[in-house]
């Protein structure tokens, strides 16, 4: 497994896989395949993909340690940046398609609606992580401080669930929220157990 994952081409494959959702959404929007309300479909599915890739990122360390697949660490940065990419697209889709890029409207929406605010907080918290994702940033900050900073991703995972929960609460529709919550709980729970060992 390790040997196989260390192959030169695997990073390109992961990069391609990470691009697939946005490519697919682009093609679907272009060819009118997103149903009766394409704007809603775009805003929602970019949010879904952010959460999905976030779960993938959080599963790397547990999988790496549990199954001793050290090569998985190679993909962590790229996948982390994909989370940031999708959260930015998600925000832009909301700001553009829902709010017509009226920054004043976006601002008052943030103040008025807690679930929007929490989503925006996730974007803000992920920004310094993306900005310090290159190798030299680790040197500048020092490994410990860099790691502390990047633990913010756990906070983001919880806030992202709150955001999703609040959004669905309007329609009492929690099944998917609970699935993601269970996955995130498992992944964060593993870390807590691992740290206390």
């Amino acid at each position: 497994m390790n040997q196989w994952l260390l192959h030169r081409s695997t990073k390109s494959v992961v990069f391609f896989l990470g691009c697939l959702p946005v490519l697919w959404l682009g093609v679907a929007a272009w060819s009118d395949q997103l149903g009766a309300n394409p704007a809603e479909a775009l805003v929602r599915s970019t949010g879904d993909w952010t959460l999905r890739i976030l779960c993938v990122v959080l599963s790397i360390t547990p999988l790496r340690v549990t199954f001793k697949i050290s090569a998985l660490a190679r993909f962590r940065r790229m996948l982390g940046l994909f989370v940031y990419f999708y959260v930015v697209v998600h925000f832009l889709a909301y700001a553009w398609l829902d709010m017509g890029f009226e920054l004043i409207d976006v601002g008052s929406d943030l103040a008025k609606r807690p679930f929007i605010f929490v989503g925006f907080a996730c974007l803000m918290l992920l920004t310094p992580l993306a900005a310090t994702s290159f190798s030299r940033a680790i040197k500048w900050l020092g490994g410990d401080r860099w790691q502390m900073l990047h633990r913010l991703v756990y906070v983001v995972a919880v806030l992202a669930l709150v955001h999703f929960f609040w959004m669905r609460a309007g329609k009492n529709n929690f099944n998917e929220v609970f699935v993601y919550a269970a996955i995130v709980a498992m992944l964060l729970g593993w870390r807590i157990r691992n740290a206390s060992k």
């Binding site: 149903g35 009766a36 394409p38 704007a39 809603e40 398609l97 017509g100 609606r113 309007g170 009492n172």
Partner: protein
């Protein structure tokens, strides 16, 4: 479904009707699933014949109405109404039916009847979500008597000139065009006249979010989203700005007087 074009004030909007494909594949009918594509995929299991509607409660002539008799009770009209969903999207739909008032007059409500309650089908065998905890089943809606008697309130059997597709609430539903869509109960099996405000499904689920009246009102936001604007399905392009939502969904001239003196911010 043969029908004459309605002549009453507000009965026919000149706006462009939504494509049938959009109107029949983008639905909220939670009994068949919470995703908007679910009802069109799942509602084929709904058995719409035989069908009957029980009229009960505070009326002089209670009884069971077979669908065929309901269809013959008054002449069918085509009404082209705006439909505004509480979620912030809208459509324009040509419905076929007649004013609910025709039925109400026929069953002669007692003086003590102040509200009308609509109970819809809850059949766990054919409706996958009945039994889930998403809502308290059966789905119940209600109107004040004067709202129910308003000529725009439509007892509906068809759309786009045909019988209702299952996902749109076949074989008989309500359409109340100045209220958010969820007030327009689908697949009705019981109409009850009461002296008490009915406990309605979404109001029971989240009273602070869905009021009993739920009149379309751009000035009263849903706690989770703004109601000031809406997206017209199929018409407003992906990048066009949303259009402004109108008070009472544009039916203020026809229904505004029903709410004279009421604080609509409190009684939302």
């Amino acid at each position: 479904l043969a029908a004459r074009v309605a002549t009453l004030d507000g009965g026919v909007t000149m706006e462009k009707p939504t494509a049938y494909k959009d109107a029949s594949t983008y639905n909220n009918f939670y009994e068949f699933g919470t995703d908007k594509a679910d009802p069109s995929r799942n509602a084929h299991t709904l058995v719409t014949s035989p069908w009957s509607v029980d009229v009960e409660g505070l009326v002089k002539r209670p009884g069971r109405w077979a669908l065929e008799d309901l269809l013959r009770l008054s002449s069918l009209e085509e009404r082209i109404y705006r439909l505004r969903c509480v979620e912030g999207w809208s459509m324009v739909i040509p419905w076929v039916g007649y004013s609910l008032a025709e039925l109400i007059k026929r069953v002669e409500p007692q003086g003590s009847a102040k509200f009308v309650e609509f109970v819809t089908l809850a059949d766990a065998k054919t409706m996958p979500l009945v039994g889930s905890r998403v809502l308290d089943w059966p789905y119940v809606e209600g109107l004040r008597m004067d709202e129910a008697m308003h000529p725009l309130t439509l007892l509906t059997f068809g759309m786009y000139g045909e019988v209702l597709p299952n996902q749109s609430g076949a074989p008989v539903r309500l359409v109340v065009p100045w209220k958010y869509g969820f007030k327009s109960a689908k697949s009705i099996v019981k109409i009850r006249f009461t002296d008490r405000q009915p406990a309605t499904a979404w109001n029971k689920a989240a009273a602070n979010e869905y009021g009993f009246y739920s009149n379309v009102n751009p000035a009263v936001d849903h706690p989770r989203w703004s109601q000031a604007t809406e997206r017209r399905i199929g018409e407003d392009g992906l990048f066009s700005k949303k259009r402004k939502t109108l008070m009472f969904n544009g039916y203020e001239n026809q229904v505004g007087q029903l709410y004279a003196g009421m604080d609509l911010k409190k009684l939302y």
